[in-house]
């Protein structure tokens, strides 16, 4: 197929499955494809030390900053129930050499798995239980530390020590809908990847071992925006304790998505919540597309009859193609052609914006066979590498039929076998529909294959630890630290008539407790305070990138205004000065603002004067024009001295 046909087919299949852009999608679209999503929200806890050793938490190193490096290889081991985990077996096939870059300040012999774990950090347990209680989870009677296998090397032991703190909770959305929570666990954070090229993956160990909680929801969300709302809800709830870390990487999400007839696919490590809607939208439609592909394929042939054929392309015969591949990759490698029977028009089938089914093979070749991209081309490549004539020759050589599609890939000799297996494996999965995968996310809302989806088979009791009982008395003590039901804060905001566009900023920065204090203790108008924080403060915060004073100074500001019997309308002007001159006291700011204390009577007399001198300039002057004109005249002296809306009433 030439390029034109591939592109045409891409567009046609996009239409055939009924893909719509997210901005145009409605609930009906999501209901049509049976959108379903759940979340795993990770949140680092603000502790002094790491979870299972006494290294300090929260110090980071640059990718090339390290004191030593060491090498490990991972092997799959059995789970407690005597099974191997699919992900583990996949990772083993990649034959990766894992290199850890260690900084003495942040990593010890525990981090590199040369010392058994120290007793768990109780500061972390306390926080995890508090958040469990806030999330209405049932706290377990005994903590059992479990090993969760990770053969990608992101943890030098090959497993993450993790433990359930609470199960079966719920949260309430703004519209009153309840979302179920499966569990909350406390676990050690993993390494940060430096690079992953060929068979060598490099990590740094600074983040490794830091305490983290993971809140897992049921797949109760029915559309992409709801997923984001739930995510925000959980993150803000976590932050409401003031005992969690903030900043890039301190909170990360794994998003589970499926469509009707599809399979749970996990989008890993989404760093920003506003990526969630686009990612979940595209993933649901990708699965919808894969089901369509399956439908076409199963009509053409049966899985048990399907057989791939492959051959090496000899350089003597295909020197032109070798030249092209070498030019594209900069590498000199062996080249193989593969025939996929019955796959015609499937490789160019739409899967995601800018990706076709072809790419499902590309990314698996990179991850499993470790062949760097570009690693292949196909007869239906949207950006064709070879001319139609070359494909004709290849097709003939492969004895391919009219309904077949072809892949040509290249790679180092030792990776060819795995590459062929990988292609065959992915092709056969097409008959089953959606391969269970974890996928890596990108800002544009697309995802690529990362790993085989792990299951419960990767769990193993931690034989280095003993169970930790949680007595009722201890939990009751922690319950006292826990604020009211977090969901009620949304209701409270609605009752206070605070505009919705302020919620995100206020909850993400956890200013609710401070606002509540100002409103209750100083009897100030909640709506005004809401706007003051959610609009004024947010605006200045954004402009200045940071708040140069302690946030409690805002409370002091309102106390000052109250003491001086000044009207709160002057607060925004003072706030601006606080950003410009963080060390200046409120009195000096007022002087700076040229504020003069004037009595209400004085202002009223000025009003009367203006009233008398008001001269209409237009023919049809309304009474409102007159008020506006007078208010314009006295505003400067009035702000802070009298409430402006009351003043307007007086004028009337």
């Amino acid at each position: 197929m030439d390029n034109n046909n591939a592109l045409k087919n891409y567009e046609a299949t996009k239409k055939a499955i009924g893909y719509v852009e997210r901005k145009k999608a409605t609930q009906a679209d999501y209901d049509r494809i049976g959108f379903m999503s759940g979340l795993e929200v990770h949140q680092q806890l603000l502790t002094k030390k790491k979870l299972f050793c006494h290294c300090p938490a929260g110090f980071y190193q640059q990718p090339d900053e390290f004191d030593a490096e060491l090498i490990r290889h991972m092997r799959p081991t059995l789970s407690e129930l005597g099974e191997y985990d699919g992900t583990a077996l996949m990772e083993f096939r990649t034959k990766k050499e894992i290199i850890y870059r260690i900084a003495n300040k942040t990593a010890c012999t525990y981090d590199v798995d040369d010392t058994p774990p120290f007793p768990i950090d109780w500061e972390a347990i306390d926080i995890a239980i508090e958040i469990s209680l806030l999330s209405k989870l049932k706290v377990v009677g005994e903590i059992h530390i479990t090993r969760k296998q990770y053969l990608d090397g992101s943890i030098p032991t090959g497993f993450q020590r993790t433990a359930i703190i609470g199960v079966d909770g719920e949260l309430t959305l703004r519209n009153g809908r309840k979302i179920g929570l499966i569990q909350l666990s406390v676990e050690e954070d993993s390494c940060r990847e430096v690079s992953d090229i060929g068979h060598r993956r490099i990590y740094r160990t600074d983040r490794l071992g830091m305490p983290l909680i993971e809140t897992v929801t049921h797949p109760d969300m029915k559309n992409p925006d709801e997923v984001k709302e739930v995510c925000d809800h959980i993150r803000f709830l976590n932050r409401s304790t003031n005992k969690v870390r903030t900043g890039i990487g301190a909170g990360r999400e794994d998003v589970n998505v499926s469509c009707r007839g599809g399979h749970r696919v996990e989008i890993k490590g989404v760093a920003r919540t506003n990526w969630i809607p686009e990612l979940t939208h595209n993933e649901a439609f990708r699965q919808w597309a894969l089901l369509h592909i399956r439908e076409i394929l199963t009509k053409r042939c049966k899985k048990e009859d399907w057989k791939l054929s492959a051959m090496e392309l000899l350089p003597s015969e295909f020197s032109a193609l070798y030249e092209i591949a070498e030019k594209t990759t900069g590498r000199k490698e062996k080249m193989y052609a593969v025939n996929l029977p019955c796959f015609k028009d499937l490789l160019s089938h739409f899967t995601q914006p800018n990706y076709s089914f072809h790419d499902e093979f590309v990314h698996r070749l990179k991850v499993i066979a470790c062949i760097e991209r570009p690693n292949m081309t196909s007869s239906e490549d949207l950006q064709p590498l070879f001319d139609p004539k070359s494909w004709n020759t290849i097709t003939k050589k492969l004895n391919a039929g009219a309904d077949d599609a072809q892949i040509v890939f290249w790679g180092p000799d030792e990776d060819i076998k795995t590459a062929l297996e990988t292609i065959e494996e992915r092709a056969l999965m097409t008959f089953d529909g959606i391969p269970p995968e974890t996928r890596k996310s990108f800002e544009d809302g697309t995802t690529i294959f990362e790993r085989v989806l792990p299951g419960a088979d990767r769990m193993y009791p931690d034989t280095d630890s003993v169970p930790i009982p949680l007595e009722d008395a201890y939990i009751d003590k922690l319950r006292k630290n826990v604020a009211e039901d977090f969901s009620e804060r949304y209701q409270q905001f609605a009752d206070w008539e605070i505009p919705e566009d302020t919620y995100r900023y206020i909850f993400s920065k956890n200013y609710y407790p401070l606002m509540q204090r100002i409103i209750n203790e100083l009897s100030l108008n909640p709506k005004f305070i809401g706007v003051f924080f959610g609009h004024r403060l947010k605006h200045l915060h954004g402009q200045h990138k940071t708040i140069p004073f302690a946030i409690n100074k805002i409370y002091d500001l309102f106390v000052f205004l109250k003491d001086k019997q000044l009207d709160t309308a002057i607060a925004p002007s003072v706030l601006l000065q606080m950003f410009l001159h963080p060390d200046m006291d409120f009195e000096s700011i007022l002087t700076d603002l040229k504020f003069k204390k004037i009595s209400k009577a004085d202002i009223i007399s000025r009003v009367r004067l203006l009233e008398n001198t008001f001269a209409p300039v237009r023919k049809n002057t309304s009474p409102q024009d007159k008020i506006n004109s007078i208010m314009g005249g006295v505003r400067a002296v009035s702000v802070g001295n009298v409430n402006l809306s009351e003043l307007v009433k007086e004028i009337k």
Binding site: F66, T77, G82, P116, G141, E142, T157, P461
Partner: protein
Amino acid sequence: MSEDFFQGYKGEALEILKKYNVRVWGTVEMETTRGNFKGTVLPRAVNDDQFHIVVKISTGYNIGIDIRTVTGMKEVGYKKANYKVPEKEFPYTPGLPHVKLLGTGGTIASRLDYRTGAVIPAFSPGELYGAVPELAEICNLDTEKIFAVFSENMGPTQYVALAKQIGKEIENGIDGIVIGHGTDTLHHTGAVLTFMCQNLPVPVILVGSQRSSDRPSSDAALNLMHAMTAAGRGNIAEVLVCMFGPTSDEYGLLHRGTRVRKMHSSYRSTFRTIGDTPVARITRKGLTPIKEDYNRRRQDKNVKIIPTFDDRVTMLYYYPGMKPDTLDAITDNGYKGVVWVGTGLGHVNKEMYPAIERAHKAGVHQYMTVQTIWGYVHMFVYDTGRDMMAKGIIPAGNMLPEVAFIKLGWALGQTHDMEEVKKIMLTPINDEITEREPYNGYLVYQGGSPEVEEFVKRVRK
């Protein structure tokens, strides 16, 4: 015997399981004052308390339920798990060397034990092949489990049995022997087998692991591959300890059984040759000698097995202010040998002298080694040393304390004649005393020095 439905549960937890008719491996729905829970009841370790029931929930995690919060429960299903390393028959490949793996227990091959909640040894060629299929490319393997004990439980009885077994295997024409062993006393066994199995025609490789094989990052697989390579293809026919060189998965080191010591309680690269260099480096590709003087592999079967051991031997680690009655008690209890671990060049305080003399007269054989681990005993440098020798303590050169203990027990198994024993003790069989200590035999670098930091950063460890 009827099946144990309540593995590990006791006291109140057992009562409540019985009350509600819930078995281990049963799927259970529980009502508690903290809410409802659902999962599979798991066995409980015997040393854990009697107030909790362990449940595996659907996500694969385990949790404990406090039975004092339970208000009701019901078994709604039953599925017993089968934890078993997949066994595959170890394939025979013509042309590859024949290696015998003797199992003694330890972390080299282990699996989960619900009884203690820790790991227990598991072992068969099939299991090993299932876990480390690469072994089949190195050798043809036969295994025999001689005993299953943790290494701290190894002792004279096991030493004798092992030595005799080695003799038998050599008689049967084996190309190499690997002994799987817990790491804590690996070096004791390394020493004792060196003394008991002399003039070896084939390698005898002791191997263990510092991370049990139920962990993805275990060193067990690589250690086994190295050991099989050394045993099947290596040319060094000695008793050697084969463990990680660096903590990285890079290469192993072969240490003489008489000069090796476990130097870290948990590090992978815990075994170090003391006072010399290791004999060789080993990778999966083969063995690279570091030392030149080693016993070459031979075709004959002329091994000399001397399986004797007198367990009336002990060690005394000297500390300031040590009272003479410690030694008196040993003498009075009929001990025949004492290995002293003295300070510095090999010293104890003057207060001990009468007790030393008394022991000597009672026929107790006394040898001096050093707490510094590195270096020789030098009892001529100070008067005290000369005094002690006069009173019957014999300096044991640079023999490691544990090695001297093992050798004395082995020697006393053969004779109690003072001169005979002394001759055995001071005539090295395989470098337990060396004539010279090379400059690079003592390397304990200190982190923080710029040149050391530079070295560590540049050379992966």
